[in-house]
């Protein structure tokens, strides 16, 4: 297997595999702290060319498992070893979607405060939707995190008529509020 991808590195998925029709983004989050794991949410945002979500319905997470045109689907129950899996049918992605960003954040629904510094592992990998084979995998993004409560893991983006995947690994001190402002999602 190839070496894990570093932060900021990218790979031209459809150029390497011209037959690629769809991918699965698998996110794995591991921590010894159960309160943190309970409140971690994975979301996928379909963004236009200016990196803003097309609408609030293009914020795919556990309470909205599909984008409106069904191109992006988060599985209610994962197939395999990931914490969450998001299936993306590349040919069904609307043409005005340029980036598909997968993020994680701590839901601050109760008084308990946690941070992503307590994560032991945070990786994102890309599988071929057709046969479940792993194409690429990111390095462990967890060691660089401290007090952040949000993390942009990786993104698929259009490039010269195809799709590339990039490992982002950028933390957000202000969690989902900061990410929602960044990606134009109105909470």
């Amino acid at each position: 297997m190839a070496a894990p991808m570093k932060r900021g590195s990218n790979v031209a998925l459809t150029r390497e595999i011209p037959s690629l029709r769809g991918v699965v983004l698998g996110v794995k989050l591991v921590s010894a702290e159960p309160v943190l794991i309970d409140n971690l949410v994975v979301a996928t945002i379909l963004c236009d060319s200016s990196s803003k979500a097309l609408s609030n319905e293009h914020f795919v997470f556990f309470n909205q498992l599909n984008s409106p045109e069904l191109s992006v689907t988060q599985l209610a129950r994962v197939v395999g070893e990931d914490t969450e899996q998001v299936e993306i049918d590349l040919s069904a992605v609307p043409t005005d979607v340029h980036r598909i960003v997968v993020v994680t954040y701590i839901n601050e629904g109760n008084a308990v405060r946690r941070s992503l510094g307590q994560l032991r592992e945070a990786t994102v990998r890309v599988l071929n939707l057709a046969d479940n084979t792993e194409l690429v995998r990111s390095e462990n993004l967890a060691p660089a995190l401290k007090t952040e409560t949000g993390l942009a893991l990786g993104e698929l983006y259009r490039h010269e008529g195809g799709w590339k995947f990039k490992v982002i690994g950028q933390g957000y001190a202000n969690g989902i509020r900061a990410m929602a402002a960044d990606f134009g999602v109105s909470l």
Partner: protein
């Protein structure tokens, strides 16, 4: 008809649920094109042509769907597929499907004439939803509580005079009370899928008559506000200002504004919460 073996059969890319790796509810295809050749006298040659067209990938979404097609929902679905923005609002705060949404900046005031507001799935699933009774001292010892039913079937109440969090004993409560300056109830929206419905009620801890006044404020994580007046003639009893139903992931808030002259047990039972075991009229068993 030539049926290919499973090993070398061509993959079907026209059925969205087959593209996924799990069993899933089929999405509803576009309405069938009620073409002129639907007449019963059509000979087998015409039939073959239709089938051939249907198997072309660019045509398949026009193919007649199964019997699950609910035709009255089709315009709605095709409006979404046509790329219409379902979040666009008309001037009265309703979106194009007639659903009232919260608006930015302005609070949504629920009245008997305009009793409903629907939160989006993002508003119903990110952060927390807080109910707060904003009152002056003159009202009396007003306390806030809610009767809830979870998807698991579990049903009970959460209130300031106990139990203060639910499910009781859970390290991760779905609903909990917090009283700082004002009485408040909070729903942890990371668990919004657990919640089926609830009613919010206001009561006097001592059972005395209250000078009903003030406002129940519902606040989303993003800061949108829904407000309900609590103003009434002074009386004893339990006031149910609001109900909440989780409709397919969207929280629908409804102004109820009914006062029930009796106990919390009677008030919750009158809203159909009949699966709660009680210690006495004001205290549930769990």
């Amino acid at each position: 008809m030539n049926v290919a073996a499973p090993d070398n059969a061509p993959s079907r890319d026209d059925l969205p649920w087959l593209r996924r790796r799990t069993t899933r509810t089929p999405s509803r295809p576009n309405p069938p094109q009620r073409a002129a050749e639907l007449d019963l006298s059509a000979d087998s040659r015409t039939h073959t042509t239709t089938t051939a067209q249907a198997s072309r990938p660019d045509q398949t979404h026009l193919a007649p769907s199964g019997s699950l097609d609910l035709s009255e929902q089709v315009p709605l679905l095709s409006a979404i597929q046509a790329g219409a923005d379902p979040t666009s609002r008309r001037s009265d705060g309703r979106d194009r499907f007639g659903t009232t949404r919260t608006s930015n900046g302005l609070p949504t005031i629920l009245t008997t004439k305009r009793p409903l507001v629907t939160l989006t799935r993002v508003q119903s699933g990110v952060g927390a939803l807080t109910f707060k009774a904003v009152l002056s001292e003159s009202v009396g010892d007003l306390r806030l509580g809610c009767a809830y039913q979870l998807v698991s079937g579990q049903s009970s109440v959460t209130q300031t005079s106990g139990p203060r969090a639910t499910p009781r004993g859970s390290r991760r409560p779905v609903i909990f009370t917090s009283g700082e300056r004002f009485e408040a109830l909070t729903i942890d929206l990371a668990q919004s899928r657990e919640l089926e419905r609830l009613i919010v009620y206001a009561y006097s801890e001592s059972g005395a008559a209250l000078n009903w006044d003030g406002t129940l404020v519902v606040q989303t994580y993003g800061g949108a506000r829904v407000e309900l007046p609590l103003r009434r003639d002074p009386s004893a009893g339990v006031l149910v200002p609001l109900s909440l139903y989780n409709i397919d992931g969207e929280f629908v808030l409804r102004s109820e504004q009914s006062i029930i002259g009796g106990s919390i047990r009677e008030a919750t039972a009158s809203f159909g919460f009949d699966r709660i075991s009680w210690l006495n009229d004001h205290t549930p068993l769990i």
